[in-house]
Subunit: 370 residues, 2 copies
Amino acid sequence: MKINSFRPPDRILMGPGPSNVHPRVLQAMARPTIGHLDPEFIRMMDELKVLLRDTFLTKNEVTFPISGPGSLGMEAAVANMVEPGMKVAVCVNGAFGGRIREMVERHGGIPVVVDAPWGQPIDPAKLEDTLSKNKDVKVVAFVHAETSTGARSDIAALSKVAHKYGCLTIADTVTSFGGIPVKVDDWELDVVYSGSQKCLSCPPGLSPITFNDRAVDYVKKRKTKVSSWFMDVSLILSYWSGAKRTYHHTAPINALYGLHEALLLVQEEGLDKAWARHEKNAAMFRAGLEKIGLKSFVTGESSLPELAIVTVPDGVNEAAVRDHLLNKYNIEIGAGLGQLAGKIWRIGLMGYTSNEKNIKLCLKALKDAL
Amino acid sequence: MKINSFRPPDRILMGPGPSNVHPRVLQAMARPTIGHLDPEFIRMMDELKVLLRDTFLTKNEVTFPISGPGSLGMEAAVANMVEPGMKVAVCVNGAFGGRIREMVERHGGIPVVVDAPWGQPIDPAKLEDTLSKNKDVKVVAFVHAETSTGARSDIAALSKVAHKYGCLTIADTVTSFGGIPVKVDDWELDVVYSGSQKCLSCPPGLSPITFNDRAVDYVKKRKTKVSSWFMDVSLILSYWSGAKRTYHHTAPINALYGLHEALLLVQEEGLDKAWARHEKNAAMFRAGLEKIGLKSFVTGESSLPELAIVTVPDGVNEAAVRDHLLNKYNIEIGAGLGQLAGKIWRIGLMGYTSNEKNIKLCLKALKDAL
């Protein structure tokens, strides 16, 4: 087998993530690697924490990126917040809520599921009903933007209900962070994680996470050790905070350069303006979809500007349409997951991908394919 | 706080890792991101597995990179091979053996320690003694090249002893892979993990891992689920192998481009020649150290060509020497860890860093500093 240097094709990434990466982020990642304890690198880490706080709209001291993709951030949140035998309310309205439930079980917790049909948001009244009947629930986990269905839940409302019952919250903002408002402090979210590869226009591989004081205090008072050494936030912090930085694991240096640049780009555009751009482009795209006779699977307030979910019309071979877009137009769109496989397309308009040119080409390609 | 794009200084990385990254690897990482299910990406993944097998000298089907740094690879090996209540013999002759022991405990195992003084290799006779007295040990874990002390253990011999007692083995080859012989099949190692940032001249963030059939069979027959969802090899394989690739987590696309290129560079040089280069340069460096009156902490067969451990001379402020090298020469060398803090320097000659020019400059800088 003769192997050559890999030259990836130039794709327009309109799936559910990764999105297209900004050229400045790619350039940043190609800068020379330095040591993870280099004073210059530690200065960069400190800036990165400031940028993350500004983007999460939080003052949380404990705000940093987990050295792995969003799913590792999800598991880090669960591993730190769940102790064996503990009841955890998990809101499940898609594949990622289901994944949290599975992780709660693996880390010894007992999940109490608050569900909604795929494509629908979680009803805060249903969470309240569950918590009123399960007074021993300590933590509530929910997904802001369900990447598998395109449904947005009102996590400010879910957070309020959780706190009314004395619970701490875990919020998944993988597909919302940078694309729609995520207000960590205003909404009093306790642990929030995200991913680098969606609305931040950065390659996959890092998971920004933030813990407020309540959550940090909770972790400090755990009776058992966190079940994973790598994910134990109290150990990771010896490297990411304090005056003297102690080695925990070797940080993914160049990936962190990329995230730093990506967050700087968000700051340069302005968070409000980034949200407005996602909103405006989504409206344009949805109008275009209607024009060519395609229907949205999720509509109204619970739809997401950064991720359109399109119902596959009857009699259409959905995989053939995706292949056509990829091979003829270099456009990647996503298939359905789990119970929605074959029924929907997931078309992302995230970060750097969200612009008029891509929208027009995608609409043309879809029309052509159909 | 005004934050600008981060411009890292150009360092010569002669610490215990990361090493300097080859320019071709940096260029590869800056290529456009594509989707993790793109047919072109899957083709690249298949090549990457071939390259990893060739470098690990194994035919193991299950050979791929874990999406996180070496310490996550370590924990993935432990998480998959350890079940609650199980006895695991852990060879500890430095910080990384100690880390494995800690992980075994976190995943519910009972570590039985086989130790050696820091700086010494593990004695196979001592392992045999332990296993003969603990017939219920199922797994033996050891570190090939202890990054904290620079000692090389004879893992071919340790593997033989482990198998004599019916145990499976976990081998840490983070600092040996690509620098000195690691012969997975010849030495009958069952689970082997490494890191990208040492002798492969790639940025940190990925952990190559390989499981032989015995280990895969063992994982399949576990009575309990792996305690981490992210690290469960049976789930990860749905994405990394088989005819139909199913999403598990979003792979760190650009980091994988980099590893592909780094392994291609090893193949182009030839594994034998890479080992010989590390060996030859180490001899030159050691001779130079002697000339300026510096002593090696580890000598003879158990010393590592890719990592020299130098005893800090009496009366010398070790941190001031490192600062001088960094600030005046842009050379990073490493400090001691744990019980060796303040007593040694760890000077890496790994991968792309291992060349005559760096050696001469480092010797000059050390002489100057002293």
